[in-house]
Amino acid sequence: MAVYRHSYSAYTGTLTPASTRVGVVVRYAFAEAWSSKITIGIFILSLLPCIATLVGIYVANNPIARAMLGAGREQMVAIDSGFFLKVLEVQCWLALVLASWIAPRVITFELADDALPILLSHPISRVGYIAGKLIALVGSLSLVTWVPGLLLFVYQCYASPQPWAANHLRLAGGMLAGAVLWIVFLSILGLALSSWVKWRVVATGSIFAAVFIPAGVGAVVSAVLRTRWGFLLNIPFMITSVWARLMGAAELSSPDRTLPTGAILAMLILACLVCVAMLNVRIRAREVVRG
């Protein structure tokens, strides 16, 4: 083929390895997610707490800055597991806002226009297609969760005396594991709900609803039945407990309301499996014929 000839010719060049096709989906999904000004806006908003935290760490570790502000060490916030747990909580809830905006963007355009028959007629499997979208989402959400969190941790390690870093290495691992757990869950949830809803605004709302409505139901169940197991429907409560345990910080809830880690993880895995089942039904080249 040639533009000026307007004629067809076969392609005889080399092809990219089959394993790189998922990367193509990732690249285009990432570009689609970040092509929106609202995405950029949410991203910038998500970084504001990090900047405030950075200033806080600087001041806490710098006697001259403290002196200039007229504050003593005892008046400053302690930079410990509780501090980084707060950072993680703030960033992860901002990640929910970002996920609810970009998850519908990366998938609903293709489903609304019924692009799957064309997409899946290429050498990429359904699993590869979903994995590509998932990687793009996890990558995007990483930029507002564990990446800035770990950068703040590294800065604190740099700014504080040497023993602090050695004594708090668990924080870094906990922050990374907690954030990855949350953003993978959010990404799967976001993709599953967006794949079933044609309109992006509704999909955005449904992601928030899926996180907060069961929490309300769970609270009612717990209050009526006087049991702690109702909190198994409360995703914010469960994930905050996991974060606190991973980072070795004190949990906010009273001991009689805490849930076993195994039960929380089982519930999160169950929710993920439901989402995978939803994706399995929806991500097909053709509608399933019902008899």
């Binding site: 067809y8 010719s9 089959a18 193509v24 799957l116 028959p117």
Partner: protein
Amino acid sequence: MGIIDLDGLEVRLANRLILNGLSGELRGHAVGLLGPNGAGKSTLINTLLGFHAPSKGTARVFGLDAHRDRAEIRGGIGYMPENDSFIGNMSGVRFVRYMAELAGLPPQIALERTHEALFYVGLGEVRYRKVNSYSLGMKQLVKLAQALVHGPRLLILDEPTNGLDPVARLRMIQLIKEIRKEGSIRLLISSHLLRDIDETCDEVLILKNGRIAALCNIEEERRSNRSFMELETVGATERFSVSIRGLGCECAAFPDGRIKLILPEHIEARDLYVIASEQGVQIRRMNQRRDSLEDIFLRAMDTAPEKGTNGRLQAQL
């Protein structure tokens, strides 16, 4: 070996038998896929693309199992689906480039060939517009461009002229003819429009109720019926028909001067004029009738296919 081989192919969807024991070899350069609604055309295409697993038998494309080796097969196929299927939020260039990269073209080459493919199908001037702003004809063309961009060995077109106005239809048919003429691509074209298949294909597979009603080479079929003739005469028709029989023609005369006959290979139309001249008979009209695809299709629809039969001309074309 044909580019597509079917061997007792059965496909069940939701416990309903959609394709029932299809067997045959599609050898043509451009194969037309015909059949009434619900005959199984789209299911066959989806099975060839590996979207449906056969419940029995096999379908082979390029000699590879259509389900087991679907990733490899899809690399060599360009597919243009029947319904709207695109990413409307993307520009024509971006959409076709995305598909080219998914097919395995390196990004830079994908971009080059995208521009070429869009110019080739006639969307060069609108290639930076979003696909959802295209007209129906343009959307069909952008689907064709994405199917062509990676240089497939087999191009599957599902109702390529669906919803097109006459001008756009002609353009699409012309493009398909050009692609066929280029020679590197085999075509499988599914259509309800016999005319489209007639103009573009050299072989036809007719499906009825999930079975093969006919699988034949259109040109050969036409050739075998080329000697059928209808005459309208004035004068001594009876004597004229007797003389024609004397030449070795099978012939039937009707009271209004019409004569139907089948010419043997060694007799030409000129011989009839000579006899008519000798007997003072006027030949007012002579139709040398060729079997149209419509005749082939209607005969195939009238003939119920036998269970388990297969292959060429099974419907007694």
